[in-house]
Symmetry: C2
Subunit: 138 residues, 2 copies
DNA sequence: CCCCTGACTTGGATGACGTCCAATGCCTGC
DNA sequence: GCAGGCATTGGACGTCATCCAAGTCAGGGG
């Protein structure tokens, strides 16, 4: 993750304790925290950090392309630090668990011109829904 | 749409003026209204209808499988009366316009077992993003 | 045809999530 | 170090949605 911090500094990001903590919280695979969860974890490392700063920082990381914003349900947005390797998501309908997945096909190729209605297509998101092993067992 | 009303009555739905109006508003292709838009249109036909009733009725139509809930952005949920023919969505990143599309591939077949993490997959949603002809021109 | 009952409707309170703002704090280049 | 400007703060505000208790109404039984 420190490479992320280096990269950001290189882009002229002013480094502060708050931003460092937020970046640290967003580390790892299959991490998909809500803003509130990020804030809760950040507080445990830096008690005086405010919600507004977490929202600001997350928004900046998204604009910089370092973090992806994911809406798997109609609840709070989630933040996915795995922004550099394209992937899609698999969501448990019961507990909300999320895994990153890499399907083999190319959905963009599957949309014929006749179904594009003159749009200039720029991207596609795929969300698989199902029930995770834990919830199936229960 | 009256066939929808017939079907619902057949399932023991108590028919009321409010429900009829909501069902009428949700008619047509490429219709993806928010709850508030549904309410606004319903009010013009039945001035005293309340927001709560619109939310209740939309929720029931969704449980009955007659309407699909769609979250194309992180704003308000949208309601899609085209629930019987499977399809995906194409969204304009600028104006938010939504079209129903029918890609040729089968995304479910594109997810190998090794990428299923033990989940029991039940469905998949695909959202194409781009810019519509109107916004491209502007 | 009317009445009764349980389902439906209402609107206002409540809650989750996110944004905005003016005042203050504190990086960083000089 | 100092200054200037970007970053942080927290509390108000906004949007979308849900909840609730009280009143209303659809439609089957008599």
């Amino acid at each position: 993750m420190s490479d992320l911090l280096e990269r950001l500094r290189g882009r002229g990001w002013r480094m502060t304790a708050q931003r460092r903590v937020v970046a640290e919280v967003l580390d790892g695979d299959h991490v998909h925290l809500t803003a509130d969860e990020v804030h809760a974890r950040a507080v445990s490392k830096l008690p005086e950090i405010s919600r507004a700063t977490v929202y600001n920082t997350l928004g900046e990381l998204v604009s910089l392309g370092e973090v992806r914003e994911v809406s798997t349900d109609q609840r709070a947005k989630r933040y996915d630090p795995n922004a550099h390797r394209p992937h899609h998501h698999l969501v448990c309908a019961q507990c909300g668990a999320i895994r990153d997945v890499h399907p083999s096909g190319n959905p963009l190729a599957d949309l014929p011109d006749s179904e594009r209605f003159g749009f200039t297509i720029s991207g596609v998101e795929v969300t698989y829904r199902g029930v995770c092993p834990n919830c199936t067992a229960a």
